[in-house]
Structure formats: structure tokens, C-alpha cells
């Protein structure tokens, strides 16, 4: 059913991981998990599809009976192969958030610990970027441009990643850049005061750019909630993300974006999260 899933071998899987491939358009799909009803899509831009290129967004999530961890990344096209940073950081964030199940949901603490990790991850990512070949057959000036991007900018991405934790009745979200999220309940938009900045990003060469530490926020999960996480390729419709979308509505939005000259890759994840049943 899903493009990539990695249950554990040999025994009942303790968790399940979903990774959407960057080389394929994934029509809007629903997926019921123990933590949330999930709606997701991945759409490559017209340019990417026309030239058989991978998209530069990335979407992944992992869940078990109590938690759902997600990451959406938007690779920066002006950097060197933004898809590389998006996929590698998306996987790293998902794994890190999953493994830190005992980490207190304390925003300043999480920001500091994650900020340190984001700097550490540049080591591995830099060698991956350096080993990416630039084909000899490309025009000389393009090779020169790519070499300059690799040397000066590295591969760059923005991200939104988080944990929905039913046991803690909380949602923790970390972000850098202008990939966005909206969290609403029947009573209020909990993310109304959240800010997103285009100049912030993570670079495989330099770590965080435009900000010292990632933004971190924690929200209570005391009511039925709707969390939508998305890249800027579909932000034109963000006013409609305060209600649960159908797959058809999301498909119509994605289709309409294809007529926009500025159309970009799209990654969107919407979670309908029931409030946890309180302990007696």
C-alpha cells in the first residue's frame, strides 16, 4: 500500500516506518494508525516531472501504539542537490525523535540538544555530498556552478519534525525555515502565533543558517486535534488546513497548483488525532 515501509523482521513489528520516495508522485492517501488518522501526499513540480528528476521535498513518519514521529523537509533548490539534505536530515530527525522517548518535552532543552545534533549531523552529510558525482558530460559552466554550490552552500533544507505522544498527551514540534504546520482543535488554532522564516535552513556544510537553535514548541493534546504539516509548494491553500481534508480535496489542490508557473514540489501530512482517554 505504501511506497516504502520497514517493519522489523521475524516478529510482530514494534513500529512501522513510512518513507515516501522522492522520485515518485504519491497521490493523496489515507492511513489509519493507532495514534492518528493520516492523510499524506507527495507531488513533484512540473519541472521535476518533465525532466525525470527527483523532488526536493521529503516526507517520512514512524508510529507504534502510543507515538507517531514525523518529519517533512523542503530541500533548497538554490543549494547543491537539496534533495540530499532533505532525505538525510528527514531520516535523521525521525530516528532521533523516536529514540529520545525519555527526553523531557521542554522546549529550551530540546532546542539545545537538537541544535547540537544538527551540528553533528553535518559531518556525515558533508561526506555524502562530497561523494556525489557531478557528471562529466554536463556543460562546463553548469559543473562550475554545481561545484561552487557544493563548496559554498552545501546541500540545504528546511524542516518541520515532531512527535505526537498519547502517553504524555502532548505534541512536540521542531522547525527551521518556512515549511509550516498548523495545529487546531475545535476550540482554537494552537499554532496561531507560530512564525516561519525563509532565511533559516540547515546546511550539510555549515549546520544551521539564519538561526542559532531550532524553534521548538510543545502543545497539549487534551482535545481532538488536527495537525497539518506542509511545504511551501501548497501554502496557497493553507487557509483551508484548519479543517480535515478529504483525499479528493487534497488532490484537487495539488492538481490546481500544477497550473501555477511558480509550482514547486509538495509534501503534506495531515494528522487527525483523537484526544487520549484520560486515566481513571
Amino acid at each position: 500500500m505504501y511506497p516504502t515501509a520497514t517493519p522489523r523482521q521475524g516478529e510482530r513489528p514494534a513500529y512501522r516506518t513510512i518513507r515516501l520516495p522522492q522520485d515518485t508522485t504519491v497521490s493523496p492517501k489515507r492511513h489509519r494508525t493507532p495514534v492518528a488518522d493520516v492523510l499524506f501526499t507527495y507531488q513533484r513540480s512540473n519541472d521535476s516531472q518533465a525532466h525525470g528528476m527527483v523532488g526536493q521535498d521529503y516526507l517520512t513518519y514512524r508510529y507504534d501504539a502510543q507515538r507517531l514521529v514525523f518529519a517533512i523537509c523542503d530541500g533548497v533548490s538554490q543549494s547543491f542537490m537539496g534533495d540530499l539534505a532533505a532525505a538525510s536530515l528527514g531520516d535523521a530527525l525521525r530516528n532521533w525523535l523516536w529514540a529520545r522517548s525519555l527526553l523531557p518535552f521542554d522546549p529550551p532543552l530540546v532546542a539545545h540538544v537538537l541544535g547540537y545534533r544538527l551540528q553533528q549531523w553535518t559531518n556525515l552529510a558533508t561526506s555524502m555530498v562530497e561523494q556525489t558525482p557531478i557528471p562529466e558530460h554536463l556543460p562546463r559552466m553548469l559543473r562550475r556552478v554545481l561545484e561552487t554550490k557544493r563548496r559554498e552552500a552545501g546541500s540545504q533544507t528546511m524542516f518541520v519534525a515532531g512527535v505526537v505522544d498519547r502517553a504524555r498527551a502532548s505534541i512536540l514540534i521542531c522547525w527551521v525555515g518556512d515549511s509550516k504546520f498548523q495545529l487546531v482543535t475545535r476550540a482554537a488554532c494552537l499554532s496561531a502565533d507560530t512564525v516561519f522564516h525563509t532565511h533559516e535552513r540547515w546546511s550539510t556544510n555549515r549546520g544551521l543558517i539564519g538561526i542559532d537553535l531550532p524553534h521548538v514548541a510543545v502543545f497539549p493534546l487534551t482535545h481532538d486535534s488536527l495537525l497539518t504539516v506542509y511545504t511551501d509548494g501548497i501554502e496557497r491553500y493553507e487557509a483551508q488546513f484548519q479543517r480535515a481534508l478529504t483525499a479528493t480535496q487534497l488532490a484537487d489542490m495539488a492538481h490546481a497548483m500544477r497550473d501555477d508557473p511558480r509550482n514547486d514540489d509538495i509534501a503534506l501530512l495531515q494528522l487527525r488525532i483523537p484526544a487520549p482517554i484520560p486515566d481513571p
Binding site: 513540480s45 521535476s48 528528476m53 553548469l142
Partner: protein, 254 residues
């Protein structure tokens, strides 16, 4: 709002360069570099920047279309028409050599050639960013006055706005108060009162006001040039030449 459309593959921006290649372009700038070499390097840097802003992964999107007309006594089309940026770097392997020669400076003929290109191309540019004509010269024209032709060009346009004209005047003593290379990033742009009398005022009168979107993109590159100043660059040194050509690639992109 004008000049707000972004250069994309389905809606590329067209930039027409008119390059004075008369023999005086062999003269040197204050740093000892020949004017023609400073122009070549700056334009090469601008084409690279266009490629960089068009590159996604290892593919170049055709966000820019470029024409290059070199002129002295006659006008030479260096690229054989208006060429998409990806074709420019694939088929032409980048910037062609400039044919510097003797002869006069027939600026009117160059603007006439640009006008003909625009007459052909504008009907297909409805949803594109307004095109830009970039005129680089180092001296007064010979022959016909180019200003009536430039004025006609400035009345042409599309949904995004009138055709923009930028003039790059490479000479000495244009400004009453020179802008040093070190001060270029703090420079707000030219004002008529800044200029000595002479040809600079003629060029100023056929220069478009800098659109907000261009100013924003230049400020993102740490320049301080302000929206609304004339797109006339008194290029007394190589740093100003570089700013001038950077301006020519400052159309907004996604």
C-alpha cells in the same frame, strides 16, 4: 503592482544585452583592467548567477532567455537570436568572445535591433516578467540619437509592466562624488544631481526606475541600492560594473 512576476520555466524573463565594443573599450579602468575585460567578467558572473538560480538538482530550468548584440559601426548578434539560458551554456558553452573593433558607436542601431526583437517576442510574453534591455557603453553615440528609439521601447510592455531599460556607462569622472569600490555595497543609487553634465544625463533619461522586486533581490545580495532610483550605473570602477550586471539578473525567481 508591477514587476512582480517571477521568472519560471513557463514564464521566463528575456534580457537583451546591447554591448558597445568600439575600440575605446580597450581603455583601462582604475585597477588597470581593460574595460572590455571587466564587462566580460561581470557578464560571465551574471550568466553564472542566472544558471545558479535556474538549477534544481543537476538540471537547468529555462528561467532566463538572453540575447547579446555587440555594436560599434554595425550590430552583431552574438547568439543568433534570443536563447534560453540552458541552450546558452550547452550549445554556446557559455559567454561568446566579444568582437572588439574600431569604428563608430552606432547606439541607435543597437536600440533599433532591440526594438525589433521585442516586437517579435512580446506577443508571446503575456504572463512573463517584463523584459529588460541592458545597454552598456563607454561613450557618446555617433550618428542618430538613440533616445527616441529607447523612449518607444519604454512604452512597450506586457502584463507585468513596461519594458525596462538599464544603462551602464563605463567612463571616468561621471559622478561629482565618486563611489569607491569599497563603498559600492553602501551606495543607494544614482541621483541626477550626482552627475556632471554630459552624456550621463542623456542615459539617465532613458533609464527605467528600479522596480521594488529588483531592489529586494539586490539587497539580498547585500547591496543597498533603493527601489525607484534610475537604472543607470555610472561604472567608474569594476565594482560598479559588477553591480550593474548583477542588476540585470535580479528578476525575481521562485
Amino acid at each position: 503592482m508591477m514587476y512582480t512576476k517571477a521568472a519560471t520555466t513557463p514564464t521566463p524573463v528575456t534580457v537583451i544585452y546591447l554591448l558597445d565594443v568600439s575600440s575605446s573599450m580597450h581603455a583601462t579602468m582604475p585597477n588597470g583592467k581593460r574595460r572590455i575585460d571587466a564587462v566580460y567578467d561581470a557578464l560571465d558572473g551574471t550568466i553564472q548567477e542566472m544558471v545558479s538560480r535556474s538549477t534544481k538538482g543537476m538540471h537547468i530550468a529555462s528561467r532566463y532567455r538572453v540575447a547579446m548584440l555587440a555594436y560599434s559601426t554595425r550590430v552583431q548578434d552574438l547568439l543568433g537570436g534570443v536563447v534560453p539560458i540552458d541552450v546558452l551554456i550547452q550549445d554556446h558553452q557559455g559567454l561568446p568572445t566579444f568582437p572588439v573593433d574600431g569604428g563608430s558607436t552606432d547606439t541607435a542601431a543597437a536600440f533599433s535591433a532591440a526594438e525589433r526583437i521585442l516586437q517579435q517576442e512580446l506577443p508571446q510574453m503575456g504572463n512573463c516578467p517584463a523584459p529588460l534591455v541592458v545597454h552598456m557603453t563607454d561613450g557618446m553615440y555617433n550618428g542618430d540619437d538613440p533616445t527616441p528609439i529607447a523612449a518607444r521601447i519604454m512604452q512597450m510592455g506586457n502584463e507585468d509592466g513596461k519594458v525596462l531599460i538599464e544603462n551602464i556607462f563605463i567612463s571616468d569622472g561621471i559622478l561629482k562624488q565618486p563611489v569607491t569600490p569599497e563603498a559600492v555595497f553602501q551606495w543607494a543609487g544614482v541621483h541626477p544631481n550626482d552627475l556632471h553634465d554630459g552624456y550621463a544625463h542623456t542615459l539617465l533619461n532613458i533609464s527605467s526606475p528600479l522596480p521594488d522586486s529588483y531592489a529586494t533581490n539586490l539587497q539580498a545580495r547585500e547591496y543597498s541600492i533603493q527601489a525607484g532610483v534610475p537604472m543607470m550605473l555610472p561604472a567608474e570602477n569594476e565594482a560598479l560594473v559588477k553591480l550593474a550586471f548583477t542588476m540585470s539578473g535580479a528578476t525575481d525567481t521562485p
